[in-house]
């Protein structure tokens, strides 16, 4: 699971008012080398929650993202490379996502988060 996916998922356990963001615990991480796709980064930059991304990247050891999105973000190649790295290169292979409100844990195995709910949670 990439951090972009973490950035757009939320907990939907019945009764939960604020399931976003999910807490992320990683027990196995692989750093990938996905070629940077500037068109994609420019396109989705405005759709992500930057502070959520930055916090989770730091927690996983990637500290290069600046505190705020720079004003020239969509022409700033250096920033876009860093954003790309955080969004698409940090692969959580094993770990878990946890809903802060309900405590519900969603396991991540072989890079696939399992967001299925139990019968009494829907």
């Amino acid at each position: 699971m990439k951090l972009l996916t973490h950035n757009i998922l939320q907990s939907n356990v019945k009764g939960v008012k604020n399931g976003y963001p999910l807490m992320l615990k990683a027990t196995k991480i692989t750093i990938l080398d996905v070629p940077v796709n500037f068109e994609f980064i420019k396109n989705i930059m405005g759709r992500i929650d930057y502070q959520v991304l930055r916090a989770v990247a730091i927690a996983l050891g990637y500290t290069e993202l600046p505190a705020e999105i720079p004003g020239d973000a969509d022409t700033n190649e250096d920033f876009m490379r860093k954003l790309h790295h955080a969004l698409q290169n940090i692969e959580v292979e094993e770990g878990e996502l946890q809903c802060k409100e309900s405590g519900r844990v969603f396991p991540i195995n072989n890079g696939i988060p399992n967001m299925l709910l139990h019968e009494n949670e829907v």
Binding site: I8, K42, D49, Q88, N114, H118
Partner: protein, 461 residues
């Protein structure tokens, strides 16, 4: 798109020569590509016809070329030099075209060229082809004939019609110059026959690529398929440069299988086509429990073939009746093992309502939902579910048998989602089940003559 009569149209006319047998899909496909590329196009003939020839208006050769470069239904875009019912008339037409376009002829004449002669509805012998080419010797081009990589290709095309007896004459003959070739080659490149990881619901290459074009995906798009299966739409959208996400309730489908020491799954399909950078993630999810995604617009496109219980079980998480009885006051039933998730049937109208709700919430304004709707010959236009945030753009039918059909539906998100007005409860206080696709799986199972393969198209054999 404006409706214009052919004889009133003053712009430049091109002949679209389609290779696809999916008659209802061809015009919507080139219209969506024109939309992606911001090109003005006017359809000058009946949109749905059996013949592979449709006259369209475009402003220049390069526009025709750019549309052709993304189309999988189009064989070629051709500049029309003449059209007539007989060769004598066609010769006259081409002569007057040449007289009226001396500048063009001067440019073309010294270049290498070749002729292609084809008839729709009849196979022409080599001798017949040569005889027809010879009728245009008067053009007197000074360039070399080149069978390989000519600078210009002239297409002489006869529209006769399928199953016509040998004495039937062509309805129309066209003399044309090729301006752009379609991408029929992609159908072979992505054919399921050579794809390593497949399932019973894998969508054939041509229809997957058409779906991706309908969704207007382009370089930099973010696309999702919430019923991903073996990932046919992910591959097609990735081909056009979209970054893709797939979800499925079935973990076995997402993990794939190991055969002869080789892992076969969606990842390996992306590797096979060298598209790995365009696969973001796979997620195990239950599409009926919406709100799994952050409550903001996220995706440029949703492309999907929702389950309907014939080949893949349409399931969602829920308690089976027996368990429901036992489950009182939110207590887990005796002997209930929480981690084995029970699933219950998920009706097609429910699937569709959840899908439209998802699109309304999570597409960006201007984004597209493209989905396949399984239906029957009782289908009526009002069966198509609607949502105040979504506008119907295209609706094409693929016959599967005399009774079974499926339709490719394209909708565009035009209005931002507002929780106060657009929540599922407000939009659908009740799900409309008076539709041909209700109880689809059961109807299909009870049909003694059911056919699970499409009548047309390149299904896996």
């Amino acid at each position: 798109m404006e409706e214009v009569q052919q004889d009133q149209y003053n712009g430049k006319k091109y002949l679209a020569y389609f290779g696809s047998v999916h008659n209802e899909f061809r015009i919507p496909e080139i219209l969506s590509i024109a939309d992606i590329l911001n090109i003005n196009i006017t359809i000058l003939e009946e949109q749905i016809k059996v013949s592979p020839f449709v006259v369209v208006g475009l402003s220049c050769d390069s526009d025709a070329q750019r549309i052709a470069e993304r189309s999988v239904t189009l064989k070629a875009f051709l500049e029309v030099w003449g059209e007539a019912a007989t060769y004598d008339h066609l010769q006259e037409e081409v002569k007057s075209f040449a007289n009226a376009n001396r500048d063009l002829i001067e440019i073309i004449s010294p270049k290498s060229f070749k002729f292609v002669v084809e008839a729709y509805g009849r196979k022409l012998t080599k001798a017949q082809q040569v005889e027809k080419m010879d009728r245009f010797k008067f053009l007197n081009f000074s360039g070399q004939i080149a069978m390989k990589d000519p600078q210009n290709t002239f297409w002489i095309l006869e529209d006769i019609g399928e199953h016509a007896p040998p004495e039937v004459l062509p309805k129309k003959i066209y003399f044309t110059r090729e301006v752009g070739l379609g991408r029929r080659d992609l159908i072979d490149k992505y054919t399921l026959k050579r794809r390593k990881y497949l399932g019973t619901t894998s969508m054939d290459a041509e229809l997957s690529l058409i779906s991706a074009n309908q969704a207007r995906v382009r370089a930099g798009s973010l696309m999702v398929d919430p019923f991903v299966g073996t990932g046919s739409f992910l591959v097609a959208c990735a081909h056009f440069g979209a970054v893709t996400v797939g979800g499925d309730i079935d973990i076995r489908v997402l993990r794939g299988k190991t055969e002869d020491g080789e892992t076969k799954n969606i990842n390996s399909n992306f590797q096979q086509y060298e598209l790995q950078p365009f696969l973001l993630d796979l997620i195990r999810l239950d599409h009926s429990t919406n709100n799994l995604w952050k409550n903001t617009p996220l995706f440029d496109a949703i492309v999907t073939d929702p389950p309907y219980g014939v080949r893949a079980g349409a399931k969602k998480v829920g308690l089976k009746k027996q368990s429901l009885k036992r489950l009182e006051n939110d207590q887990l039933p005796e002997g209930f093992v929480p981690h084995i998730t029970q699933t219950v049937a998920y009706s097609v109208p429910e699937v569709m309502a959840d899908l439209l709700d998802f699109a309304a919430r999570n597409l960006v304004v201007g984004g597209y939902l493209v989905y396949w709707l399984p239906t029957t010959n009782d289908y009526k236009p009002s069966d198509i579910p609607t949502h105040p945030c979504l506008e119907l753009i295209a609706n094409s039918e693929q016959p599967m048998s005399t009774k079974w059909r499926r339709r490719l539906i394209t909708v565009k998100k035009t209005i931002p989602f507002d929780h106060k007005q657009h929540s599922k409860e407000l939009v659908w206080p009740e799900i409309n089940v008076d539709v041909a696709h209700a109880n689809y799986a059961m109807k299909r199972m009870n049909d003694p003559n059911r056919m699970d393969r499409p009548l047309q198209g390149s299904s896996v054999t």
